[in-house]
């Protein structure tokens, strides 16, 4: 079984800026892969290439067996951008119904059921028929997540999905993510928080567009001799430019 995401020396430049620099990694199916890195390290840039919103400048990026960007796999990917990116003047139901139809969910009944189920999973049941401009930041975040989950994609790409959420909600979301992984879905999640990083099956440390390391949290702790992931990251960040394989 091929890995869900295979990046081979992928780079992305914006003019003089190298936002992603020769990044190589594999994400097998059914895991939660956490991409950890400070602000500006290139997390969003990499995720956008994975979902096909951005073209790699160099290297090859295979997602679900296709070289990205490729619309043929679009319906099998769910993407939650860093900002809500929904229609504030429409209700949550209308937003979800719109994207549902775009993703080919057929049947009004089926769509309605899916909307209700997602709303209850994400604690938005009472808000389904409210326009999104009334939503708080955390609610918008969940609405955006609902939109990514809607068509039950095989690969979920979530850009800082839990920013602005309280610890209770955060925990329940991670439980949900774990459940999805157990169903065989692959999740690629960017984050800057260490406690979330610890919940991932695999972790990539990104800094300045370079992948410093990519392994299980336990292995990363062991390699750096640090008990804490944050210290592990700092230890790795202190030696920039070390190729992943030599760690």
């Amino acid at each position: 079984m091929d890995a869900t995401v295979v990046a081979d020396e992928v780079s992305r430049t914006f003019g003089p800026v190298r936002a992603i620099d020769r990044l190589t990694l594999e994400i097998p199916q059914g895991v939660i892969y956490g991409l950890l890195g400070p602000s500006g390290s290139g997390k969003t840039t990499f995720l956008r290439m994975v979902v096909g919103a951005l073209r790699p400048s160099e290297g090859q990026l295979l997602v679900l067996g296709r070289t990205m960007p490729d619309r043929a796999v679009a319906a099998r990917i769910g993407y939650m951008p860093q900002t809500a990116a929904l229609y504030p003047d429409l209700t949550l139901r209308e937003n979800l119904a719109f994207f549902g139809r775009i993703y080919g969910l057929r049947g009004r009944r089926k769509l309605e059921e899916r909307v209700e189920q997602l709303a209850s999973d994400l604690g938005l049941l009472g808000w389904v028929d409210q326009q999104l401009y009334r939503f708080s930041v955390g609610m918008l975040q969940r609405a955006s997540l609902a939109c990514a989950l809607l068509h039950q994609p095989e690969l979920l790409v979530l850009d800082e999905p839990t920013v602005g959420l309280d610890p209770v909600l955060r925990r329940s979301l991670w439980a949900h993510f774990r459940q999805l992984a157990e169903q065989g879905k692959t999740l690629l999640i960017s984050t800057h928080t260490m406690d979330e990083a610890g919940r991932c099956d695999l972790l990539g440390f990104l800094r300045g567009g370079r992948l410093l390391a990519s392994d299980t949290p336990a292995a990363l702790r062991r390699q750096t001799g640090q008990a804490d992931l944050e210290d592990a990251f700092l230890a790795l960040a202190g030696q920039p430019g070390i190729p992943v394989g030599e760690l």
């Binding site: 956008r48 979902v51 096909g52 919103a53 951005l54 073209r55 960007p69 619309r71 679009a74 319906a75 990917i77 993407y79 951008p81 900002t83 809500a84 990116a85 929904l86 229609y87 504030p88 003047d89 429409l90 209308e94 719109f98 994207f99 139809r101 775009i102 993703y103 080919g104 326009q131 939109c147």
Partner: protein, 362 residues
């Protein structure tokens, strides 16, 4: 190509506008208000040009005054010379016509004086043209041996005596408003799609560029069509403009024009980063079309380089076609070139819109 997706996009746009009462009012109520205003300007005016006539005692006088009084836009008052001169000085009248008093000194010409107030060129022009029509006619009528009046008998190939300025302008206003509003709304909505990031969701979704452009086109032209139907009904039923052609053709031409406007809006919104920058397109896209497309000044009357420019503007072709239908009653068969130009414009703009969308995955 999936019609389900195109339809979903179109329905979303329709739904968003239904929510947005103010924009809805902008599309449907504002053109009606502006058309009413224009109608009132042309038709409601009680103020006509005022002319004082100093009668004198020539046999001509009676005829001249009678002829001037027939001019509907002229309000004629007979006055004494002193009184008339004071009136024009106080701007109570726009001009004074002093007809000769007989006998004149031998060797001096028979003089007709015309004193114009002069601060309103249009009033002065109206007086000069009325007087220069009335005088020779009066002379002929006076000297005509059998006392028969000479008559001008106008025969219109198109239009007719009942057609006035408003009838001439109304068809082009319909086209202009449709173009203007649809362009503005599309570029702002598309820009919003970019600003709020939802364009990224669309780009990574199974929607392809053709479907995005088509969905937008259908959504917005639906409103534009409703708008032009409202405008046509209003101008015909309320303003009671005179027209001869088929009204569905008017709606169809407007529809074609707005398809181009939607695509132009999508295309140009790629070059704006804020809504204020969209507004900056108005002087570039809308104003030249408003001035050069023959709404106010006939294209033929423009300086030659501007005529060439006018030929490149879609609104020029739309206006010509709309007038051809409403004033001359021409049908689809006579408008082949115009239709081709409008379709060509829409297709070219759709292609450009898709190119800018392709750049989205840069």
């Amino acid at each position: 190509m999936s019609w389900q997706r195109v339809l979903a996009l179109m329905l979303r746009i329709v739904r968003q506008f239904r929510r947005d009462r103010r924009t809805l009012a902008l599309i449907l109520v504002v053109p009606v208000l502006v058309l009413s205003l224009i109608g009132y300007i042309y038709r409601g005016s009680g103020e006509s040009t005022r002319l004082a006539v100093v009668e004198g005692n020539s046999p001509l006088a009676r005829q001249v005054i009678a002829l001037l009084e027939q001019t509907s836009s002229l309000h004629v008052t007979v006055m004494e010379r002193e009184q008339a001169l004071q009136a024009v000085g106080r701007r109570e009248v726009d001009g004074v016509l002093v007809l000769p008093t007989l006998p004149v000194q031998p060797g001096t010409p028979l003089k007709v004086e015309l004193i114009l107030e002069g601060s309103q060129p249009s009033a002065a022009g109206a007086i000069i043209s009325a007087v220069s029509r009335a005088l020779p006619l009066a002379i002929i009528q006076t000297v005509s041996p059998d006392g028969q009046a000479l008559q001008i008998e106008p025969r219109f190939l198109h239009g007719g005596p009942q057609f006035d300025q408003l009838d001439y302008f109304a068809p082009t206003f319909i086209g202009f408003f449709a173009f203007f509003f649809v362009f503005l709304l599309t570029s702002v909505s598309f820009l919003r799609e970019r600003l709020q990031g939802s364009i990224e969701r669309l780009i990574v979704s199974p929607l392809d560029r053709k479907e995005i452009v088509l969905g937008y086109m259908l959504g917005f032209t639906l409103f534009a069509t409703v708008q032009s139907i409202v405008m046509v009904i209003f101008t015909v039923a309320v303003l009671r403009i005179h027209y001869v052609g088929e009204l569905w053709l008017v709606a169809f031409l407007t529809f074609l024009l707005t398809v181009g406007a939607v695509n132009l809006g999508i295309f140009l919104s790629a070059f704006a980063r804020t809504e204020l920058q969209v507004v900056q397109f108005i002087p570039i896209v809308i104003t030249p079309q408003g001035l050069l497309s023959g709404i106010i000044w006939p294209v033929d009357s423009l300086p030659r380089p501007l005529q060439w420019l006018a030929q490149a503007l879609p609104l020029t072709w739309a206006n010509e076609a709309l007038r051809a239908v409403m004033i001359r009653g021409e049908g689809l068969d006579a408008l082949g070139l115009h239709l081709a130009v409008l379709v060509g414009f829409a297709v070219a703009m759709a292609a450009l819109a898709m190119v800018t969308l392709r750049r989205e995955v840069a």
